[in-house]
């Protein structure tokens, strides 16, 4: 599959365009191998030679809260991707998944803007 965004898009626009295609892509430096998320024009070391790669989708819950509201409870988590970077997301399904749980990503396209959400990893209990 083509890992170049369609057209000359900046990092945010490219990420969102990939999501529209149902793909969870993150950036990696060709020279240093650093992974970058959220998408931007440079890696922490300052190099700009970033390419888009398919995220493994595997991660671990780093922190977790439940936003309480009239419309119901919403899980908000920080997930450490196996590649290294951390992202904000939500757990679908088992809302009370504890910190340390292994999770897998899925691009959710229902509703408006597509987004990356996480499900408990199959057999993830042992990883806690």
């Amino acid at each position: 599959m083509n890992n170049e965004p369609d057209g000359n898009l900046g990092p945010q626009a490219a990420y969102e365009a990939f999501l529209q295609q149902g793909r969870f892509m993150i950036q990696r430096s060709k020279s240093t191998g650093e992974y970058v998320f959220y998408p931007r024009v440079c890696a922490p070391s300052g190099v700009q030679d970033l390419e888009w790669v398919e995220a493994s989708g595997r991660g671990t819950v780093y922190a977790a809260t439940m936003k309480r509201g009239r419309e119901g409870d919403t899980s908000i988590v920080l997930v450490d991707l196996d590649e290294g970077p951390r992202m904000m997301s939500t757990i679908s399904g088992d809302l009370n998944l504890p910190i340390g749980s292994k999770v897998v990503a899925r691009v959710e396209t229902a509703g408006g803007q597509p987004r990356v959400v996480f499900d408990p990893a199959p057999g993830g209990e042992g990883a806690r």
């Binding site: 922190a63 809260t65 309480r68 920080l78 904000m88 987004r115």
Partner: protein, 383 residues
């Protein structure tokens, strides 16, 4: 680290206005009332003020709005906005400007009417695009995430968090200006409505109106004015992230960096500190800052605050006004850390007065545990 700024400037005037609720008044009305009170307290005239430092949650160009409203044409001004920590940063910036001779009389000021304007936190802070799909309710979502991690790594409990709120209320009960007064038990906090696990309503700061302002001038001039000077001893900021996603370790704030540099500049050790004003927007803040500023080892903050250690009569005087949790929190709280420290060092704190209060640590926090600014103020005995 330079100590060249230690004791070079002093706070010579202090004013507050609209503490708690001020129906019918705008943010700038309250800011102006507090500023004029500070100028009068200093025995100065409005026309003496030649520098304005401000950040506001309702006005993006704060020093501009404040100066115009008051009719000041400042020759030096600074609207640095690093959230609630702005005013501790302004102490440092104003000291630099005064020492450089760029101005002589600096006004640092804040005002907000966010309680009577709607009762919700007002912020000019734009959302982070990569967080938007998950609809965080910042700031509380970020602080709840940090609390969850602290509990996971160190066994901190909701009871320990609750003890921070209970101590703050006990101090507030000694402060007639505090907005939230009355008995508060650990059970009350635990049983209050959950907002974002593990933080319940009473783990969160108040949403009040309020304004505060101070006048800062060079120390040589301060000694000729009517109030006992409260000296600026040192200050330092550290900033490691903006979005909570980018915070390297949710259990360690940049106070671990700003703190040591501020201690060094002020020439102060922990044993010298009589009062610690720690920006308590949420109960987890107090615990994190006690750790990161070296009052206890990392991870021990929850156990440290138990058994009334930071409550009236405890071994460490922390947030003696009642803090953002029980005294006042009009969006940005940093100016009120200064107000309480000055009141205590002057010996004007009434029933909550800390005995022989000579050295106060102020720790401001801005954003989502992002900007951290530590400053020290001291009495004439420290010079």
């Amino acid at each position: 680290m330079s100590r060249s700024l230690r004791g070079k400037t002093a706070i010579v005037g202090l004013g507050t206005a609209g503490m708690g609720e001020a129906p019918g008044y705008s943010a700038l009305d309250l800011l102006a009332q507090a500023s004029l009170a500070a100028i009068e307290d200093a025995g100065l005239k409005l026309s003496d003020v030649d520098a304005v430092f401000s950040a506001m949650s309702q006005h993006a160009l704060a020093s501009m709005s404040a100066a115009e409203y008051l009719g000041i044409k400042p020759k030096y001004f600074d609207s640095t906005n690093v959230g609630g920590s702005s005013f501790e940063m302004h102490l440092l910036q104003a000291t630099l400007a005064l020492e450089a001779g760029l101005c002589d009389t600096a006004l640092i000021c804040y005002g907000s009417n966010q309680r009577t304007a709607g009762g919700r936190l007002i912020s000019l802070s734009e959302p982070n695009w990569h967080e938007v799909p998950y609809q965080p309710r910042h700031p509380i979502t970020a602080y709840a995430l940090a609390a969850s991690r602290h509990m996971h790594e160190y066994g901190t409990t909701r009871e320990m968090l609750a003890d921070v709120a209970v101590a703050a209320r006990a101090w507030a009960n000694l402060n007639p200006e505090a907005f939230a007064r009355g008995p508060l038990s650990r059970e009350d906090v635990l049983n209050s409505r959950m907002i974002s696990d593990p933080l319940s309503k009473l783990d969160c700061c108040l949403v009040t109106d309020g304004a505060a302002a101070c006048i800062l001038t060079r120390a040589d001039r301060a000694r000729d004015l009517k109030q006992k000077p409260v000296y600026f001893l040192g200050g330092a900021g550290a900033n490691w992230h903006r979005s909570i996603v980018a915070m390297p370790d949710l259990t360690v704030t940049a106070a671990a960096d700003s703190g040591p540099r501020a201690f060094e500049m002020a020439g102060v050790t922990h044993g010298d500190i009589d009062l610690s004003m720690l920006y308590d927007a949420f109960t987890i803040n107090t615990i994190l800052f006690l750790e990161d500023l070296g009052f206890c080892p990392k991870g021990e903050g929850g156990r440290f605050v138990q058994d009334g250690r930071i409550a009236p009569g405890g071994e460490l005087a922390v947030n003696t006004s009642g803090g953002g949790l029980s005294c006042v929190h009009p969006g940005m709280y940093g100016m009120f850390l200064i107000a309480e420290a000055v009141t205590q060092i002057r010996g004007d704190a009434g029933a909550r007065q800390v005995k022989d209060c000579d050295v106060a640590l102020l720790h401001g926090n801005g954003g989502t545990l992002s900007s951290q600014v530590t400053a020290f103020l001291g009495s004439g005995n420290t010079i």
